[in-house]
Symmetry: C2
Subunit: 344 residues, 2 copies
């Protein structure tokens, strides 16, 4: 299942807001449509956002009517700014945009038509690399999973959050593919229910046993001894290993510590932002009230109620047993382990 691809001059994205009730695809040659898809979460998950952003830049390039390379690069910078304004937390967005910009700058000696092609190819490379990273994460992570494990996951860190295969779910897929008998608890993940809608959908397609629970049930099942391991993804990891991920991740991590359950975070190295020393510097996106007060068009909460809706929280490094990356599994102290990753 490809979440995102380029075909005949268009970007094709599975519309995640429609899942699991409908499997619909967005097909567009307009980069603004891709930017909107990122903003409204038709595409979501840090690695997938990065790839979508790269393809959005490639579309902006293809759309350009610029006659000269300087004019083209000017236009491109404007498009990159628009795409960068869609979501503040996932570092992969900025990482992918920066990489596309560097590619354009490094090829500013080329004619516009050649440059358009170079950017399309670079987006393809980013997508291919992401897929490769997912597979590597899966391989490294699966070594931490035992036959018979029940694994709890939060939000969707699956194929839908990447190009394919996933981050946290890559670990689960890989363990499953090795023949290990795995059962998954999927937190539904309020407010947007990525667990209920996306994680269950992905796992059920591959016959990986999954039980859906509400977020507030995770602690209960841990207390009953029914959770062996926790694996989640992340939207940004600081230089010290603090992790920003979907709201609720922090609570799961605290509960894991209370019950002495290993808590793993699976990310490609591109999700690490070494420019920030710790999690307190990660901007936390605040989203609209209606995501909490209603669902699917119907109001459930009291009219006019004040709502807080942070989309992410920060899990401090001390609560994380290990971070599974595409370059191996790292353990505390994370500041040193991460610095070493970036030396390579």
């Amino acid at each position: 299942m490809k979440t995102i691809e380029w075909k005949n001059g268009k970007v094709i994205l599975i519309d995640q807001t429609k899942l699991p009730l409908k499997e619909e695809y967005i097909e567009t040659s307009d980069y603004l449509r891709v930017a909107e898809a990122i903003k409204i979460l038709s595409v979501r998950g840090a690695p997938a956002i990065g790839v979508a952003a790269a393809y959005a830049v490639a579309l902006a390039a293809a759309q350009s009517k610029a006659k000269s390379t300087p004019e083209f690069l000017d236009e491109l910078a404007g498009a990159i700014q628009v795409i960068g304004g869609t979501r503040p937390t996932a570092v992969n967005l900025f990482w992918a945009l920066e990489r596309m910009k560097e590619k354009a700058d490094a090829n500013s000696h080329l004619a516009v038509s050649r440059l358009k092609r170079v950017l399309r190819e670079e987006a393809d490379v980013i997508a291919a690399e992401e897929l490769e990273m997912s597979k590597k994460m899966g391989e490294y992570g699966a070594e931490l999973i035992d036959d018979g494990d029940t694994i709890l996951t939060h939000c969707n860190a699956g194929a839908l959050a990447t190009v394919d295969y996933g981050t946290a779910l890559a670990v689960i897929r890989s363990a499953h593919n090795q023949g290990k008998n795995i059962h998954v608890y999927a937190d539904e993940t309020r407010p947007l229910l990525q667990g209920a809608r996306l994680t269950t959908w992905e796992l059920m397609r591959e016959n990986i046993p999954v039980t859906l629970i509400c977020d507030n049930m995770a602690g209960h099942f841990m207390s009953l001894g029914k959770v062996d391991k926790i694996v989640v993804g992340a939207d940004r990891v600081a230089a010290n290993g603090d992790v920003a991920n979907k709201i609720g991740t922090y609570s799961v991590a605290v509960l894991a510590k209370e019950h002495n359950i290993p808590f793993y975070v699976a990310i490609p190295v591109s999700t690490i932002d070494t420019s920030i020393p710790d999690g307190s510097h990660i901007p936390i996106e605040e989203r609209a009230s209606h995501e909490v007060t209603g669902f699917g068009g119907s109001q459930v909460a009291t009219a006019g109620v004040i709502v807080a809706n942070p989309a992410f929280d920060v899990t401090p490094n001390r609560l994380i047993t290990a971070i599974i990356t595409d370059r191996g599994v790292i353990k505390p102290p994370y500041d040193k382990a991460i610095a070493k990753l970036f030396e390579q």
Copy 2:
């Protein structure tokens, strides 16, 4: 606001499944309709369930066409069994039924018509006592609340869960009425959203500032230092102070401990079940999948997904800072404090 009352031979209940969108009342002279209301959560909250059960017995008595007292008592025993089968966790249900049964037995020398009246009056006494208990809990509990506190609560332990005033919300109401400046975080409380639907509705009616959050955000706000105290209700408390309450309460208690935030439970003494030594003996109701897979009437999760839906969890006594009762605030060791309460 009266949640439940007896008027002209009928029981009148606010239909909590319709709130906050509609304020509708169930008016019935049929005890089976009240039993159904308990089962489908039109009336919910341990103390309210107790009062509704008592009135259901009074209705069953009024409905009886029995010619003799033995025949009447036989019928009544059958009705009590039906009412007792509605929900397994809230001890107030069984407490109220037992009390009504004892009242009938103690008056088995009376004629049927007199006995009917005795039972109606006993239900009225139970309702009046519950209201009085709520006010007492409010008074005792408010002493634990400081001016300027932000209090987090889970589910609805308010007027709607009692006859009026509440348990946890009685504490908040009482502090507010004393002129203390209180702000409340209301956990939405999946799957049935009692926090989003009922707690916000109650508090907004009385202009007590409230912010609605998803359950999985509680830990995040605690980590930001934004929660000063936690107050919840309970459905059953064991002899050692272990507390069964709405699913998610346990997670909140673990998070409170991690952040060194006082965690209070407000209950009438009738919620304590001294017949069970600890929380492991409390039956946990498992409810239907559709409560989790749907949201406000529409299907959201993947079709056919396996769901776990325990309605309650158990918070061990070690996580509870104090239990606020209508006979004062008790502190650890709870086994001794509870034994002392029942000696009185």
